[in-house]
């Protein structure tokens, strides 16, 4: 193969490389060709938390309360719990890791794409609180009810007075419908001005019916007193009636002022016991009869929990025990008999999904290791986006300025290196995009990484500057263009190599001590240095060899000032 042919093949390969990396870096160039466009726009740059917004939380796990040989297990369990918790949060791809660091055990949580920092943090930090509650005695409940009534009494008095006041207004001729709209507590009829339509006897509560059907009120008249029912106080206006006997229907309107009455809520019915999530070892989903029946959730208590549970069950046979998560009642199974083996099953009408959810929730309630936050880096998504835009802008300007400088100073050589720089940038972006799909080490681009990338743009041309200075020197020394190019590359190589080694050495150290910011910067810088050596030497040399020839030899001013000889 002749040298010329070889050069042409190499040049064709350079063009191919430029086109491929250009398309991958900026898929919009092939938008007209949807099949290819879809394919190449698939890989995306993996943006760091500081650019897409997100949380990075580092917790210290306190393992001091756990036996030596169980620590790893406890840590793993903690990681699992946190993982489940952040997965439930449903953002991006959360990452939970444990690592030893500085003699401490750390758990790091990364949550990408967060807009509201505080809210997200609460969700992670929130430890579901598991409690077992037993029924109060009848006397206790009664006492509670009484207490509630006492609290409600003055409030109800006030409502009644208000009702009376409105009644007077209605009687004085004010618009019933408007007052109903304004004051009625009956959501069903409020908007229609209190209109209840035609109804037969028996639809409403007895007291209400009594007024409508057994009291003589003329159509269009208002019943002169407040009518008290379980709901509260009503002002009633009869509109019309039709039918006879059993078929009699009355059309009325009312304004309701609702009354507060104590109700037997779970909170009122149950009282706390000493048994909480701290006593839970694990929860599992089990199936009675080998999976043919309903799923149940089985709880396993520790020693103390077993004793407590035995005691509680013994005292509450035939009654219910309420299981609370985060102060919400999840289930209230009835105790059949005393349970002493530290195991409890929650039977409910669970679907498998529900049972699994409950199991998950219960396991979360029992975080095996206490954790404290030791460091946090959170960036709201909007700020991240702004950082990304700004830094990309800085990169674009940097690229343009360097290209202008090179073309201005080195003329045609500079133009070639500017082209190479563009290819370099496209290749870097392609590497960022493809690292996730083609290799096991996806590169995460952080703000510091972009800084490293931009810096590498400036450093990438360093090799070219070294080479070009050499080429100019050789031309001045009277060499032919081809010879000068050859010598220039040959002689500049040791300097390029030595200089870049030193950058790689420091970058490796940075990666090694690596916290987030430093690592992001150094990794990109190393990749940049390696790739830029390739573009500055191989690509530029190929292009120069291709364009070098008689035509250029006669126009040497494209490379160097003539009178410089």
């Amino acid at each position: 193969m002749s040298i010329n042919k070889k050069i042409r093949i190499h040049f064709a390969l350079v063009i191919l490389l430029a086109i491929v990396s250009g398309i991958i870096a900026y898929p919009k160039t092939v938008k007209f060709f949807p099949l290819l466009y879809d394919k190449v726009s698939e890989p995306q740059i993996n943006l760091g938390l500081d650019l897409q917004g997100g949380l990075r939380l580092e917790y210290k796990a306190d393992l001091s309360g756990i036996e030596e040989d169980k620590r790893q297990e406890a840590l793993q369990a903690t990681q699992d719990v946190i993982e489940r918790r952040v997965n439930a949060f449903g953002v991006g791809e959360p990452l939970v890791q444990t690592a030893r660091s500085g003699g401490e055990q750390r758990v790091t949580v990364e949550l990408p794409g967060i807009e509201n920092i505080e809210e997200a943090k609460d969700t992670i930090k929130e430890t579901p609180f598991l409690e077992f509650k037993e029924e109060k005695t009848e006397e206790e409940i009664e006492a509670e009810m009484k207490k509630m009534e006492e609290i409600f009494a003055p409030m109800n008095e006030e409502t009644k007075n208000k009702a009376q006041e409105i009644l007077e207004k209605v009687k004085a001729g004010e618009n019933f419908e408007e007052l109903a709209k304004e004051h009625s507590a009956d959501p069903g009829s409020k908007e229609s001005g209190g209109d209840l339509g035609f109804v037969k006897k028996g639809v409403f509560v007895p007291k209400f019916d009594e007024i409508l059907f057994e009291t003589e009120i003329a159509n269009g008249e208002i019943y002169p007193d407040l009518v008290e029912t379980d709901f509260g106080w009503h002002i009633i206006k009869k509109i019309d009636e039709k039918g006879e006997g059993e078929e009699r229907e009355v059309h009325a309107k009312h304004i309701l002022f609702s009354k507060r009455t104590p109700q037997l809520t779970p909170d009122l019915k149950y009282k706390s016991t000493d048994l909480t999530g701290k006593n839970l070892e694990s929860a599992d989903v089990v199936f009675m009869d080998q999976g043919l029946s309903q799923p149940q959730v089985q709880l396993n208590f520790d020693k103390e929990g077993s004793d407590l549970f035995a005691e509680i069950t013994k005292e509450n046979i035939g009654k219910t025990i309420a299981i609370y998560l985060d102060n919400q009642i999840v289930s209230a199974p009835t105790v059949q008999n005393e349970i002493t083996n530290g195991e409890a099953v929650i039977t409910g009408n669970f679907t498998t999904e529900e049972a699994k959810n409950l199991k998950r929730k219960l396991n979360e309630g029992a975080l095996p290791v206490p954790i404290t936050l030791v460091s946090e880096q959170s960036v709201g998504a909007s700020l991240g986006k702004m950082s990304l835009e700004k830094s990309l802008k800085a990169g674009a300007y940097g690229l343009i300025l360097v290209a202008i400088f090179m073309i201005f100073y080195y003329r045609l050589l500079g133009f070639v290196s500017a082209i190479a720089l563009l290819i370099y940038a496209a290749m870097m972006v392609s590497v960022f995009k493809l690292s996730g799909t083609l290799s096991a080490w996806p590169i995460t681009l952080t703000l510091s990484g972009i800084a490293g990338f931009i810096l590498s743009l400036g450093m990438a041309v360093d090799a070219n500057i070294l080479i070009f200075e050499r080429i100019k020197e050789e031309i001045k020394n009277g060499r032919s263009l081809d010879g000068a190019i050859h010598e220039g590359f040959l002689r500049a190589w040791p300097s390029i190599r030595d200089g870049n080694y030193s950058t790689i050495i420091t970058s490796m150290i940075l990666i090694w001590i690596g916290t987030g910011f430093i690592k992001g910067f150094a990794i990109i810088l190393v990749i940049g240095v390696l790739l830029s050596m390739f573009t500055a030497i191989v690509l530029v040399k190929t292009i120069l060899q291709f364009i070098s020839g008689d035509w250029l030899n006669k126009r040497i001013w494209l490379i160097i000032r003539k009178n410089n000889k």
Binding site: G398, Y409, I454, L457, V461, D498, W512
Partner: protein
């Protein structure tokens, strides 16, 4: 040809002044350590965006609290070394020493009293255990880098032993490095004193990058010296060879630095607040590195050589 080596006295004086100033700054003011090394919190918040005037007849448009108001509001939390910085778009940056996240919660709670809609744009919290660790690894990294670079230089110049032994190139390069690092530290000591610029992990990353970069520059010059020694006849004097090498590599040194300076300026101007001081550190280091590789590193070789020569004679 410019006689750089012959005028080395002036550059020594100039560098000497810079070094002494830097060392004085450092010993008087020290470095203004940021939360990375001190432990603490940086919280950037935005109060609700002001309501456009045409939408509200009355003057309900929201004015964000001033620095003083924020400080007063937070005063009963007794926060250590609190600094508040207002910026455009109703934003404020708070920095303070904190040992746990509860304080951050309380601070946000207090700020919510100004504006319930307040948004946290950024929270950086470094606990003291982490900051101590970062400090250690930063020092370790710097030391390792210096040793690594020194070994590398000694290796790179192992082949030439004339007219000065190869390790002396290494010493020259390291002295030039130390020169650059001290000046960068001095500049940031002053910036820390007057502009409250803080030193964090990015600063260390920048320092290490400067290490690599400055050495790169020096190596290119030394490489040329090496090449010229090998190609010159034995009679040519070392001083002249060095000066010639400097002149030959001058355009390259300056151009390379210019391209890097250009991109760093692009970062400083357009890149946003988060990385501007990182880029500024690099900028100071690159300028100093270029200067030292041209005017200091090679001059040191010659001074040392002449000193030896005098001793022999």
């Amino acid at each position: 040809m410019i006689d750089i080596i012959g005028k080395r006295k002036y550059t020594y004086v100039f560098s000497g002044i810079l070094l002494v100033l830097s060392l004085v700054f450092l010993s008087v003011w020290g470095l203004n350590l940021g939360i990375d090394f001190r432990g603490g919190t940086l919280m950037e918040v935005r109060f609700q965006e002001s309501i456009p005037a045409e939408e509200t007849e009355e003057t309900t448009s929201f004015t964000p609290p001033t620095r003083q108001e924020i400080e007063n509001k937070l005063s009963d939390l007794e926060i250590k070394s609190l600094s508040v910085q207002e910026s455009e778009d109703n934003k404020a940056i708070l920095k303070y020493i904190s040992s746990d996240e509860n304080l951050n919660r309380e601070v946000l709670g207090k700020l919510k009293e100004f504006d319930g809609e307040i948004k946290q744009l950024r929270v950086d919290f470094i606990g003291s255990s982490v900051s101590n660790q970062l400090k250690k690894s930063a020092i370790l990294a710097l030391l390792t880098a210096v040793v690594g670079i020194a070994l590398y230089i000694a290796w790179a110049f192992r082949k030439i032993s004339f007219p000065i032994p190869s390790w002396q190139y290494g010493v020259g390069a390291i002295l030039a490095l130390a020169h650059d690092l001290i000046i960068v530290l001095g500049v940031f000591s002053a910036l820390g004193k007057f502009l409250d610029v803080e030193i964090g992990i990015p600063f260390v990353a920048a320092l290490l990058t400067i290490l690599g970069y400055s050495v790169n520059d020096t190596i290119v010059v030394y490489d040329r010296v090496r090449e010229n020694i090998l190609s010159s006849d034995a009679k040519e004097n070392f001083e002249n060879i060095t000066n010639k090498s400097l002149n030959e590599t001058m355009a390259r040194s300056i151009n390379t630095s210019l391209t890097v300076i250009v991109v760093l300026l692009a970062i400083i101007i357009f890149g946003g607040a988060t990385i501007e001081f990182f880029a500024l550190t690099l900028l100071v280091g690159v300028v100093s590195g270029t200067y030292s590789s041209i005017f200091v590193a090679s001059a040191l070789l010659v001074s040392n050589y002449n000193y030896k020569l005098k001793k022999i004679n």
